[in-house]
Amino acid sequence: MGYNKDLCTGCGYCADACPFRVPRSDRNVLTGIAKMDKCTLCTTQGLNRIAEGYEPACVDACPTNALVIGDRDSLLADGKKRVAGLQARGMANATLYGENELGGLHVMYVLGDSPGVYGLPVDPKISAATIAWQDVIQPLGWAVGGLTIIGLGMNYLVARANANKEAK
């Protein structure tokens, strides 16, 4: 996932919502001034290597081809082949992390052991608070704010008409 750093407000909501704790920031505790940082796979605006037909710099630099970029299907096939190789060498817990997690991730890891060993969540989930914020708080805000303003507008029209009637 890419992001536009210029637009970042530094609220940090993404850091708390990310099951993998990927976004980071340097934060001034007193003022709260911050910019989030995360890898964009070299798709940062103005420095977009992918759009120019290059690979991300880390992939380009990797001497052992540990890092590979490509379309997801071919990466899946390649990853599964590597996992099978590891398992054949006795690594029974070897797995392709990201194949099914959260419906399938765009970054996948060939792991020699269970994800917990590498500090990755074994069963990553979107937190209840994230869902509550997006699916409850957001529509609730619009509904309560909108209905209040409509209600007050209606009250004004009725009350003013009555006040005018009485004045006559």
């Binding site: 407000t9 608070a129 704010g145 009250n155 009350a159 009555n162």
Partner: protein, 215 residues
């Protein structure tokens, strides 16, 4: 009858009201830009967060200063806001016809604070405390609290924002725009209301004040 006026709000409480209003409006607007994603660009580079925090400090410090300067007034206000009686039940029943149709016949005499104003006090106090607690955690424990805890702080902060923001609309509407509340603006700006308005809107309080003046 001469144009007789009574003092509704003393200078101290009016100053507190407007400082607190200014702080809350700033907090509301700088919070709104995070709540409505299309407005998010206004918050870029964190400058709205700096304003939010300066306003938050004023929002907390101003009532504390008032409490130190005039603790008795705070006590009287709290006591009145949280003391409910038959006049409040009557207000709730009469309010729809009163505020829509101007029908005053069923409206019981109110003290210096009517039932609606008591409910507003309740909202300001309850959600003010929630705002400050959750906001302080997001401010000072942003890097130490767990992500889930911080997310629920945002959740509570936003529920408080929705409820108190909507009620702020009601408060501003009743104070400034409602056709019957002709002197509410004067009461909170220069402090004075006419005796006639006081008698009609705060009858119980007006009787107490005028009896005290006589006796």
């Amino acid at each position: 009858m001469t144009h007789h006026e009574v003092e509704k709000y003393k200078k101290g409480i009016r100053i507190l009201h407007w400082i607190h209003t200014g702080a809350f409006v700033l907090l509301f607007l700088t919070g709104l830009v995070l709540f409505i994603p299309p407005l998010g660009f206004l918050a870029q580079d964190s400058w709205t967060r700096v304003i939010h925090r300066v306003a938050a400090a004023i929002f907390v410090i101003a009532p504390i200063i008032y409490l130190i300067v005039d603790p008795k007034a705070v006590g009287r206000g709290l006591k009145q806001a949280f003391t409910w009686g038959s006049a409040d039940i009557g207000w709730l029943q009469a309010a729809p016809r009163y505020y829509f149709l101007g029908d005053e016949s069923a409206m019981p005499e109110q003290g210096s604070m009517n039932t609606g104003q008591k409910m507003w006090w309740f909202i300001v106090i309850v959600f003010g405390v929630l705002f400050v607690i959750t906001g302080a955690i997001m401010w000072f424990a942003k890097t130490s609290a767990s992500p889930a805890a911080l997310q629920w702080m945002v959740f509570i902060h936003d529920v408080s924002f929705i409820v108190s923001g909507a009620m702020l609309f009601v408060h501003i509407y009743l104070g400034v725009f409602h056709p019957m509340m002709t002197e509410a603006w004067g009461a909170i700006t220069n402090g004075k209301i006419s005796a006639e308005y006081a008698r009609k809107h705060h009858g119980k309080w007006y009787n107490e004040v005028s009896n005290k003046a006589k006796g």
